[in-house]
């Protein structure tokens, strides 16, 4: 048999997606090779190690806390019955719609020295000054970990819950028969079977945490993102900034590869295609009460309290905060978020499908490449996107010049750039969610389809897509909400007179006056509800 190199259309599509979406990163890395490394070595000698340790601690802390919150929540809502479960199941996803910088701002207002909590304590106990008592300082690394985990845990919750629902109940039932307690079954069966999904979710959470700048800078926690911004805006060295971004991505890749290597010989497939909605465990008495209390507390802290504070601002400052332009801002946000969700999901399905059917080497590389944008801090990503696009524009203009034509800034002067930047940034979310659904479809279904003479495209359409419905909805929801919240890239790349809810909020938040933007901030969250509600309903109905 002779080996013949054949480029399939799937391979071509997947690799082009991977290369196009990672182009900004490559341009950035190329940028990092220019110039000298004086700034970099200065940082190395002074503050870089503090930044690295803060970054690592932040990521580990956020992952740990998100797991402690989200894994029990996912398991409880997927397998158990307890009072309020139906409502918690969707309500616990709500914090996703909350931008991190808003929750950080709200809690700082509540918990710092001049906030209502400490004032009340002082009144109760008669303390006079800060030296009379100890109260935790929220503007610290642990404070930042809590804030970020409170808005990011829903990733893990959602993906883990979906995984549990799609898993065969038989294994859990078997564990029940063998006398495992619910707790033991959670650790020994559910966690182990869902490891791939959990890691995918934690990877998303890590990347999002790594890219955060607004929260950590508000909390005065210096991380590698701080270093990126300092070098760029302080030392005016985009090359050193690009270098640090490169180091960040490298660290993340190594971590992900190590994880993947550790489960190289494992595979979990779905044996039944049905989805389970009836509860396995009916909680009663104390345990039911505990489950409700746990869900209730998480919801209260991560969502109800911040919303109440925002509402309070909105009512108090209504006169100053209201603007007739809100519907326009909301429309801009919705439009971009909708388009980006559709594009990322479409790309994600094809790339993940290629991973599945590929017979060539390195089937995972295109998806990994395409996912790199997520870990870049927003403003850096924005510039990284501008690098290839402006180059493209000026090349086109050069070609057209002899004919007295030019396209000007057709791409970078329009909303197009924002859409591209969002696709680059949020592709990783779509990919992760789709991948974790795809891997649970047993390959025997593909073989069955093939044996019935169906082409690969037909298999995707007739067999996979119906089974992926839930995963696709999850992915679309996550991307949509992220787009609603995203700030730095939109801020920097927008055309004239483009104002979305997030950019409107920012002009006030940047002056630490969230009160004046409270209505927009509430709108971001409320607009996020809408898809959440519909997607949740459609998930419930078709089980």
């Amino acid at each position: 048999m002779t080996y013949k190199f054949k480029l399939s259309k799937w391979q071509l599509f997947a690799w082009s997606t991977g290369l196009v979406l990672s182009a900004p990163l490559f341009f950035l890395l190329f940028e990092s090779l220019q110039g000298n490394s004086e700034v970099f070595s200065h940082l190395w000698d002074t503050v870089l190690w503090d930044y690295i340790s803060n970054t690592v601690l932040l990521i580990l802390g956020v992952c740990a806390l998100s797991s402690v919150i989200a894994l029990p929540l996912g398991w409880l809502t997927a397998y158990c019955n307890f009072p309020g479960k139906k409502h918690f199941e969707w309500a616990l996803m709500l914090p996703l719609a909350m931008p991190t910088y808003i929750i950080a701002y709200v809690y700082t207002d509540l918990l710092d020295y001049a906030g209502p909590v400490q004032i009340t304590l002082r009144e109760w106990f008669g303390w006079q000054s800060p030296s009379d008592y100890w109260f935790f300082d929220i503007r610290t690394l642990p404070g930042a970990i809590v804030m970020i985990a409170l808005v990011l845990y829903p990733y893990l919750f959602l993906i883990f819950k979906t995984a549990l629902r799609e898993q065969s109940f038989k294994l859990v039932q078997a564990s029940q028969l063998m006398g495992l307690s619910p707790t033991k079954s959670f650790f020994k069966v559910s966690l182990v079977l869902s490891r791939g999904s959990i890691v995918a979710a934690l990877a998303l959470i890590s990347m999002e945490t790594m890219a955060d700048f607004a929260t950590v800078s508000y909390f005065a926690v210096s991380t590698l993102t701080t270093a990126v911004y300092d070098t760029w805006f302080g030392y005016y060295s985009l090359t050193a900034a690009a270098k640090i971004s490169g180091v960040m991505l490298l660290l993340l890749f190594l971590a992900l590869m190590a994880e993947r290597f550790s489960r190289r010989n494992q595979a979990v497939f779905e044996r039944q295609s049905g989805v389970n909605s009836e509860a396995l465990y009916i909680l009663k008495g104390k345990s039911a009460w505990l489950a409700t209390a746990f869900c209730g507390t998480v919801l209260l802290v991560s969502f109800v309290i911040p919303i109440a504070v925002l509402l309070n601002y909105a009512i108090t400052y209504f006169e100053k905060a209201w603007s007739a332009e809100f519907f326009n801002y909301a429309w801009q946000s919705l439009k971009v978020a909708g388009v980006v969700s559709v594009i990322t999901i479409a790309l994600g399905v094809f790339v993940v499908f290629y991973q599945r059917i590929a017979t060539q080497s390195y089937p995972l590389v295109p998806g990994r490449l395409a996912s790199t944008g997520y870990a870049l801090p927003g403003t850096v990503l924005a510039i990284a996107v501008l690098l290839p696009l402006t180059l493209l524009e000026s090349s086109i203009n050069n070609v057209l010049e002899p004919y007295n034509l030019d396209i000007g800034l057709l791409l970078t002067g329009s909303v197009f750039t924002i859409v591209i930047a969002y696709v680059v940034r949020f592709y990783a979310i779509a990919h992760g969610a789709i991948e974790s659904s795809f891997v649970r479809i047993s390959p025997s279904l593909d073989m069955a389809s093939q044996s019935m003479g169906k082409s690969q495209g037909q298999t995707l359409r007739l067999v996979h897509l119906p089974l992926l419905r839930r995963g696709l909805l999850t992915a679309a929801l996550l991307v949509f909400i992220e787009c609603m919240k995203e700030l730095p890239a939109a801020l920097l790349l927008r055309p004239f007179n483009f104002e979305s809810l997030a950019t409107h909020v920012f002009q006030y938040v940047s002056d630490e006056q969230l009160e004046l933007a409270s209505i927009s901030a509430l709108s971001i969250v409320i607009v996020g509800f809408i898809p959440l509600y519909f997607i949740n309903r459609s998930m419930e109905q078709h089980t």
Binding site: G234, N397, L492
Partner: protein, 334 residues
């Protein structure tokens, strides 16, 4: 699939129409601060203004857009950005006798590449109850151990603080400035955080007695019902009145090198440096006008006159990278 994608893209790419009578602005300053002035400009001249506001990265964007950039004007909130734009060769000469008549030469570039619009002082606020007014206070004294645990400030790397540290290097040299920074760091009541308003709040709360902050914040806070109480707890001091004077920063503007509407941009700059706009800057934003003789807001006037550090801004600006290095070296923010 292709069709859907095409429709989707057509849906979002809607090229904005640009009339001739416009000026396109990239602004580092928040729209709500400049909108009243821009609105009045449009009313006076019929020239529309389009604004993109961002806090970071606008300079890089102008640079990458090159000769096709739609920006005619960049508005900045500090002098380093002005000088960086000039250094990157992204500006063109502001050629106007009106502007030259309005703005004293210390507050515009020698070659006319940028012009300042307003001045802001780097003040030191002191607790009325615990320290009272400090008319003889100097920036140097902030490193004096007598203020141990009493000082609050925002990040040392913020442009306003970087400007101050750069001016210290210009006056005292690198080594002495480093010692000064170490002394000040040892005096901090807490890790640098928040913005200038937050420091005044911290003084009110009793967390610290001294806070670095720009002059106009106090005025803006007095206009806010909730923040009024914070502002009333502090006294505003103008440092170094007995020697070189207080450190001044400026907000300003440049006309971009490839401006498509340079005449309109120039008109806007002329308007912004003239009486009416200068007056609005003073009364609405509580800033110091650059044009001599323009009336201050009554509140700002009540703080009294003061001596300004006369060192040229481009001289100070040279030391900015070194200032940042020193701040990293003493781990000021950590």
């Amino acid at each position: 699939m292709k069709k859907t994608l095409a429709i989707a893209l057509g849906f979002i790419v809607s090229a904005p129409a640009f009339a001739n009578d416009v000026v396109n602005i990239y602004s580092f300053r928040q729209p709500f601060l400049i909108q009243p002035i821009l609105d009045d400009f449009t009313k006076q001249t019929g020239i529309k203004t389009n604004v993109v506001f961002a806090k970071k990265g606008l300079i890089e964007r102008v640079k990458r857009e090159g000769k096709h950039s739609k920006a005619d004007l960049v508005l900045t909130s500090n002098f380093s950005a002005l000088i960086q734009l000039e250094d990157l060769n992204l500006t063109q000469t502001i050629n106007s006798t009106n502007v030259n008549a309005n703005v004293p030469s210390a507050f515009r570039d020698g070659d006319g590449q940028w012009v300042a619009l307003t001045k802001r002082v780097r003040n030191v606020y002191s607790s009325k109850d615990r320290l009272g007014a400090l008319p003889k206070l100097t920036y140097e004294e902030l490193a004096d151990p007598k203020y141990k645990g009493q000082i609050c400030t925002r990040s040392g790397k913020h442009p306003y603080n970087l400007g101050l540290v750069a001016s210290m290097i210009a006056h005292h040299g690198e080594a002495q400035t480093k010692t000064w920074l170490e002394g000040m760091k040892a005096n901090l009541a807490r890790k640098p955080q928040g913005n200038d308003r937050a420091q005044v709040k911290a003084v009110k709360e009793g967390l610290c007695n001294l806070a670095l902050g720009n002059s106009y914040y106090l005025g803006k806070m007095l206009q806010d019902e909730e923040q009024k109480a914070w502002a009333e707890a502090v006294h505003i001091n103008f440092p170094n009145q007995t020697d070189r004077g207080s450190h001044i920063n400026v907000s300003g503007a440049v006309i971009t090198k490839y401006a498509k509407n340079p005449e309109n941009a120039l008109k806007l700059i002329e308007y912004m440096t003239d009486n009416k706009a200068q007056n609005m800057y003073a009364s609405l934003n509580m800033e110091y006008p650059v044009k001599p003789g323009v009336q201050l807001s009554s509140l700002v006037a009540s703080w009294g006159s003061f001596k300004e550090d006369s060192l040229p801004l481009d001289e100070i600006s040279k030391y900015r990278p070194l200032a940042l290095k020193l701040i990293d070296e003493v781990k000021f923010d950590l």
